[in-house]
């Protein structure tokens, strides 16, 4: 408890310090590439013949996803706290790469915990982290994926808290993490709100974002929470079936519970053991949804639905061909739901958060589109 109390204090002080905000703003602009464009997807809109589709291009950020927003913010907090070592967990490797990147930028020692299984699936990102100077530690306990990497990072943190900062990558874990990660990601929605008002002259009717832990979704939703005419739609991983273990649809298959310091909807069995999950997209493959999403869901402000592995893959191919944008598999889940609803929504304006680019998923796309991979 003491480490998170210390963190909360340090974060709140940083948040209210104009010098901190101005340094972060400058790094986001000059280093990460903010603001990201809001792009009108003309060909996709025409081919669907319904809603007008706008894409928030977080995929254009440095390191290829929205993760860098949070990493820059938290690394500056770590520096203020006088820490010299940063640790992180990663699933697909995007948060690990973003953490390794900011550690190189700001001169921190960096250790990234990654499940053995994920290291095997995402070899390129493991190499990328090492090239950036990070140490990648393989986690062989439990399911050997993201959930176990988080547990291992927490164990490291409680043992080394004096000099170590735990840079958690999603809107998960114990307070203040969900609040802090949201604050560092809410820039997505603040920009998008301004940009859509410029582009369309009005607010969108619906916003679509994929939800693993939920950082990109809470980031784009947050600025629109008071705009009650705007539907906020989170898309979870429907995976490959309805049975427990085949998906990561926490609102459909989960129940309230406590995991890794947070209380939210979690996939679990009747004995309260956390369930295994599946998604073709490693970034959505996690048993708990961020607690603020649970709170918004229970108040009826946000809705959640799912896209299956197959629907996400198909949406990725569609977006690639219609717009020349290969999305991350995570983001493809959001695209899939927008595409599903668009034809029946003539006159509506949809905004989709393309939270990351698909470079990291090329091997999975190759496996699934074998007809494109012939000599």
């Amino acid at each position: 408890m003491a480490p998170i109390e210390e963190l909360e204090k340090a974060y709140l002080a940083a948040r209210d310090d104009p010098a901190f905000q101005s340094e972060l703003g400058e790094l986001l602009r000059a280093y990460a590439g903010r603001p990201t464009p809001l792009y009108f997807a003309k060909r996709l809109t025409e081919s669907l013949g319904g809603a007008r589709l706008w894409l928030k291009r977080e995929d254009l950020l440095h390191t290829g996803a929205h993760k860098i927003n949070n990493c820059l913010g938290q690394a500056l907090v770590a520096r203020r706290m006088g820490k010299r070592r940063i640790i992180a967990e990663t699933g697909a490797g995007q948060h690990g790469v973003a953490t390794a990147t900011v550690c190189a930028l700001l001169g921190f020692e960096c250790v990234v915990y990654m499940g053995e299984e994920d290291m095997r699936r995402q070899r390129l990102n493991v190499f990328r982290m090492r090239l950036l100077g990070a140490k990648v530690v393989s986690v062989s306990s439990g399911s050997r994926t993201l959930k176990d990497a988080i547990s291992e990072a927490m164990r490291d943190w409680v043992a080394n808290v004096a000099d170590t900062y735990y840079l958690l990558g999603s809107a998960l874990g114990a307070h203040p993490y969900p609040m802090m990660v949201r604050d560092f990601q809410k820039v997505i929605g603040e920009e998008a709100r301004r940009q859509i008002l410029e582009g369309e002259g009005r607010l969108p009717d619906a916003i679509f974002a994929c939800v693993g832990g939920g950082s990109n979704a809470i980031g784009i939703f947050h600025a629109f929470l008071p705009d009650t005419s705007v539907e906020l739609i989170g898309i979870e991983a429907g995976g490959r079936g309805e049975a427990m273990g085949e998906h990561a649809a926490r609102f459909r298959g989960g129940a309230p519970g406590v995991l890794q310091g947070a209380c939210s909807y979690v996939l679990q069995d009747d004995d309260g053991q956390i369930a295994l999950t599946h998604s073709v997209s490693a970034g959505l493959d996690y048993a708990m949804i961020g607690p603020e999403h649970a709170w918004l869901h229970d108040r009826g402000r946000t809705q959640y639905t799912t896209a299956s592995d197959a629907e996400a893959l198909e949406a990725a191919r569609l977006l690639s061909r219609a717009e020349g944008i290969i999305p991350a598999l995570e983001s493809a889940h959001a695209v899939a739901e927008a595409v599903r609803r668009a034809p029946a929504a003539k006159g509506k304006v949809f905004l989709v958060n393309v939270s990351g680019r698909g470079d990291k998923d090329i091997d999975i796309y190759r496996e699934n589109f074998q007809e494109l991979d012939q000599p």
Binding site: M1, A2, S141, G142, V258, D271, G272, Q273, I274
Partner: protein, 267 residues
């Protein structure tokens, strides 16, 4: 007063200290646990912590993680652990403390757990990952059914938290010898002496120290400062190394006896 309080009172009268032994219930299988507990008690364990296996044990090191995996694989649930507790209670009056993560408890139901644990002859409960700030309902449910609630205090705990730990703990207070997870260590941290002093200032309850205890010398060192010493990973490791060895119970018994001799040792 539960068996835990009676035990500490008795030891105090005799000028003795308690050795608390942890094992993961259901490791390697639920039907093995009662015999393993009996061996611990024969060796001189004064209180048994029955660990409830959990899929995501963030407070535990690799040894207890693996024990939990074995127990889960063998089909152990919180319900199973309660029935193991009842079996032990049929043959022994040794105090039993349930040692569990919060999620299985939420799923089982607080009141239902308090009722069923009490009926099984269990004396108290420790939640590893519940913060004392949110403990009021839990403690009330347990106390209604006559169960003790033991809370953890760590070297990093603030004075405000130590007061809350004192307020909600009954039976004894569990001090964590150092920051980090469970597991054996060569030497014990210097951090524990100030923690003992700080905790004494806010409670009259007996104090137990755990995390990292694996040798008679540790027991000797801590036994001079607190009422009880907890040993966990070292026992679980012995179990792990002798899963199919028919001498496991004898080895456990003699290891506990050796640890307990630490209390008699002069430094």
């Amino acid at each position: 007063m539960t068996r835990i309080g009676l035990m500490f009172d008795g030891l105090k009268r005799d000028g003795r200290k308690a050795l608390i032994a942890y094992l993961t219930a259901g490791d390697p299988a639920p039907d093995r646990t009662p015999a393993l507990v009996e061996a611990l008690v024969r060796g001189g364990a004064d209180l048994i912590e029955l660990g409830v296996p959990f899929s995501d044990p963030i407070a535990d090191g690799p040894v207890i993680q693996r024990a939990g995996e074995r127990a889960l694989k063998a089909g152990t649930s919180l319900k199973t652990v309660l029935s193991i507790g009842a079996q032990i209670r049929e043959r022994s009056e040794t105090p039993l403390l349930l040692f569990t993560y919060l999620n299985p408890v939420i799923r089982y139901g607080l009141d239902r757990l308090a009722r069923d644990a009490s009926a099984a002859g269990i004396d108290g409960c420790l939640l590893t990952d519940a913060s004392v700030e949110e403990a009021a309902d839990y403690a009330a449910a347990m106390h209604r059914h006559g169960l003790d609630t033991v809370f953890l205090a760590a070297p990093t705990s603030t004075p405000r938290r130590l007061k809350l730990v004192a307020q909600y703990s009954t039976g004894f207070v569990y001090l964590v010898s150092r920051t980090g997870v469970t597991g054996e260590r060569d030497s014990l941290s210097d951090a524990v002496a100030p923690l003992i002093r700080a905790m004494r200032a806010v409670t009259d309850l007996p104090l137990a120290v755990g995390f990292g205890v694996s040798k008679p010398e540790h027991v000797a060192e801590l036994g001079r400062q607190v009422e009880a010493v907890v040993v966990g990973s070292a026992l679980v490791r012995l179990i792990e190394r002798n899963l199919d060895n028919s001498s496991l119970e004898i080895q456990l018994e003699s290891f506990v006896r050796e640890l307990k001799r630490g209390f008699g040792a002069r430094a």
